[in-house]
């Protein structure tokens, strides 16, 4: 009870509430601008969160996360272009509604749906994450090493059509994580140690500059390619009535429940993310509404049902994706990978330890997510006529601003040590350029980040497990939980291959 009150007070104070509000507005703006992703928004805010207390910093990032996921529906509905992959499926019915003159209803419906999805998935997060975290009590080094391995394997196999590319970038991320010093002996593990032993490279690659580079700078360079194409101006629309009739929303209860389930479940599977969940829920809603007994409008015909289903699902992903983050330390999608990075940088270790020693922070995260959803609902409803205006901000201005914020944000982490801070700017720029070229060649970025995050956990526990087993490398196959993780990793690799072979 004491932890519950402490968690409540850590969020419901003026400073934290203002940071959540700021994060929410920033998130909605980032989400609403096509080309800028939710992950980029969270990565850009990392340096600020680093300067704040654990709860306030996480609350700020959660605000950005929620805002960016729901903000993506604005251009999807008005222009037919999703702000980011979270709103891919909202385009179909949402934009058709705009063409019919029902833009206000579509925007309002998307906000209501996002709110419902966000709140229901928060309930799932609060119910399931402590139970799964308790599970981790049984984890020794072998289980932890195979857990890191399975997390990496799943994200490598899901994030790209080409498994080899996913595994290769995951391995590249691990090599970056291993730079610096040996975790057990502190011996240098850098190239040319005689020449570079007094440089900041001895501290390894820091997570925040790497995340900012891979998600911020690389995306900005990628968008720069399309700057000459220009962007569609937001149409001059009469938004009209915004709040959808409650009776209509209530009649969609089955779509809402199923979409929440799909979003939460898909979100909780590492590496999957919202783009899969929204399509599944859209297809499911299509099936429900096309049944002859259904009194609902048919999804696909430009109706509210077709907006509600994917919008419930994408915000349900936010809570779902946090389940493995808090309970296992494995992110559900690239956005939560950055959130996990923010926790680890602060020295917070997810899993049973978090729930037993830092329960107040867990409650604070739940309250922050609740408040983020409430703010998202209120701000989007109040600003339904205002937020579409961000679509007029030229990319010519936005891209340089993002690049500079990325650089200064990377610098700020080691803000008192100028040399290290400038080195971090270099790391962010270098990885930004690497990420840009990888994206152009269809290599996924998320496995690099996972490699960076899980590299330390994998190496330390791998070596510890083998040592404890007296040098026996087969230890990972003799422990049931570890073996289950290895089988899961193999299944995650085999499934996409089998599915591809089945396709003609």
């Amino acid at each position: 009870m004491q932890e519950l009150i402490s968690g409540f007070l850590q969020v419901f104070n003026l400073q934290t509430v203002l940071w959540i509000a700021l994060g929410e507005v920033f998130g909605i703006v980032i989400g609403a601008i096509p080309g800028l992703t939710a992950t980029m928004g969270i990565a850009l805010m990392l340096p600020l969160s680093f300067q704040l207390s654990n709860a306030t910093g996480m609350a700020l990032l959660l605000g950005v996360y929620c805002g960016a996921v729901s903000g993506a529906s604005i251009p999807a509905i008005l222009l037919g272009i999703p702000g980011n992959p979270n709103a891919i499926a909202t385009v179909y019915d949402g934009h058709s509604m705009t063409k019919k003159g029902l833009a206000g209803q579509a925007l309002g419906g998307a906000v209501v749906a996002s709110f419902i999805g966000g709140i229901l998935s928060l309930v799932a997060l609060a119910l399931f994450s402590p139970v799964i975290a308790r599970f981790t009590l049984a984890f020794g080094p072998a289980e932890k090493a195979t857990l890191a391995f399975v997390g990496l394997t799943i994200i490598a196999s899901v994030s790209s059509k080409n498994l080899a590319k996913g595994v290769l970038t995951g391995a590249f991320g691990l090599t970056l994580a291993l730079l610096g010093t040996d975790p057990f002996t502190d011996a240098l593990r850098i190239p040319f140690p005689e020449a570079l032993s007094k440089t900041p490279l001895t501290g390894g690659i820091k997570l925040i500059p790497a995340l900012i580079g891979l998600f911020g700078i690389s995306q900005a360079l990628f968008d720069l390619e399309r700057i000459r194409e220009g962007r569609m101006a937001p149409p001059q629309l009469k938004i009209g009535k915004v709040f959808p009739p409650l009776k209509k929303i209530a009649s969609m209860w089955r779509i809402i429940i199923e979409s929440t389930g799909i979003g939460t479940l898909i979100g909780a599977i590492p590496g999957t993310g919202a783009s899969i969940a929204v399509f599944l829920s859209y297809e499911r809603a299509k099936r429900i509404t096309s049944s002859p007994r259904s009194k609902l409008d048919r999804v696909g015909s430009g109706c509210l049902e077709g907006v509600v289903a994917p919008e419930v699902a994408n915000n349900a992903v936010t809570g779902g994706a946090l389940i493995p983050v808090l309970s296992l330390g494995i992110p559900g999608d690239s956005g939560t990978a950055v959130l996990l990075g923010a926790l680890l940088i602060k020295g917070v270790v997810p899993g049973y330890q978090l729930f037993s020693q830092n329960l107040d922070l867990v409650y604070a995260i739940f309250f922050a997510l609740l408040l983020s959803n409430i703010f998202m609902f209120s701000f989007q409803m109040m600003g339904v006529r205002l937020f579409p205006k961000v679509l007029s901000i030229p990319m010519a201005v936005l891209i340089p601003v993002i690049i500079v914020i990325s650089m200064i944000g990377s610098y700020a982490i080691e803000g008192q040590a100028v040399l290290s801070a400038i080195f971090d700017m270099g790391v962010a720029l270098f990885l930004g350029i690497v990420g840009y070229f990888l994206k152009k060649a269809d290599y996924p970025i998320a496995p690099i980040v996972l490699g960076l995050i899980l590299g330390g956990m994998l190496e330390v526990n791998f070596r510890r497990a083998v040592k404890l087993a007296g040098g026996n490398f087969l230890v990972f196959f003799t422990k049931p939980i570890a073996l289950a993780f290895i089988i899961l990793a193999l299944v995650s690799v085999a499934l996409p291959i089998i599915q591809r072979k089945r396709k003609p």
Binding site: L48, A171, T185, I408, Y411, G415, M425, F437, R463
Partner: protein, 237 residues
């Protein structure tokens, strides 16, 4: 034969994995302290394993990409120039950040990138306009910075001498500095409305105003509120 981006990346990974294997072999084999029996796989184990895994995958991908017919469309020359400019200036920014200082490098980087992005190309005939804007950016940035320094220092000493604590707080003085900057910007925007409306001068006005404004906001947030030691460089006040 022209190599596509996909093949280049696969080959780059191939070279990287070979170098990484060489690097892993060059590492001194270190074992956990107290590991007398030698059961610890050692500090080389994982790097070597990863090196060989990457080598195998990059050989496979190099072969696979060489058999693919389709390669992504090459970039137009204009877009390529803009990306090259962004990367080059970002590298210069990092190199000059300490000697020249945060305020000037940030503002000038922003101005240059916004201006050329707005014009969507880099051509010789833009030089005069660009230089004019460059000087305006320098002047506006220094003016805004000087006002905020004056306000922050002034409020600090008034707060300390009068005993009114909140006057000397960084948050309050930053807020006042931001407010004064906003007032200055409103005056500038109102007086330069015509220039902002003209397509020939629009790019310059937007670039100058945005670069000086964003630099000031970043300065107030990171330096004044979060105590980050942003380099002063050649600005001594």
């Amino acid at each position: 034969m022209k190599l596509g981006i996909r093949r280049i990346i696969a080959l780059a990974f191939l070279i990287f994995s070979l170098l990484y294997i060489a690097f892993s072999f060059s590492l001194k084999e270190m074992r956990m302290i107290g590991d007398d029996r030698g059961w610890d796989p050692g500090s080389r184990a994982l790097p070597l394993g990863l090196g060989f895994l990457m080598l195998a995958l990059s050989i496979y991908l190099s072969y696979r990409e060489s058999r693919k017919q389709h390669s992504p469309q090459p970039l137009e020359a204009g877009s390529r120039r803009l990306i090259l400019l962004t990367v080059t200036l970002s590298v210069l920014y990092i190199l000059l950040f300490e000697p020249i200082g945060f305020i000037l490098t940030t503002s000038l980087l922003l101005y240059t990138l916004i201006y050329f992005n707005y014009e969507q190309d880099i051509r010789r005939e833009m030089a005069v306009k660009f230089l004019a804007g460059f000087i305006f950016t320098l002047l506006l940035t220094l003016t805004v910075y000087t006002i905020s320094r004056f306000v922050i220092r002034g409020l600090f000493s008034i707060g300390k001498s009068s005993g009114v604590e909140f006057l000397s707080s960084r948050l309050f003085s930053s807020f006042i500095a931001l407010f004064l900057t906003a007032v200055l910007y409103m005056v500038l925007i109102l007086s330069g409305r015509k220039m902002l409306g003209k397509p020939s001068t629009r790019a310059i006005v937007i670039s100058v105003l945005t670069s000086a404004g964003v630099t000031e906001v970043l300065y107030l947030v990171f330096k004044q509120i979060f105590y980050v030691s942003l380099t002063q460089g050649i600005i001594i006040w």
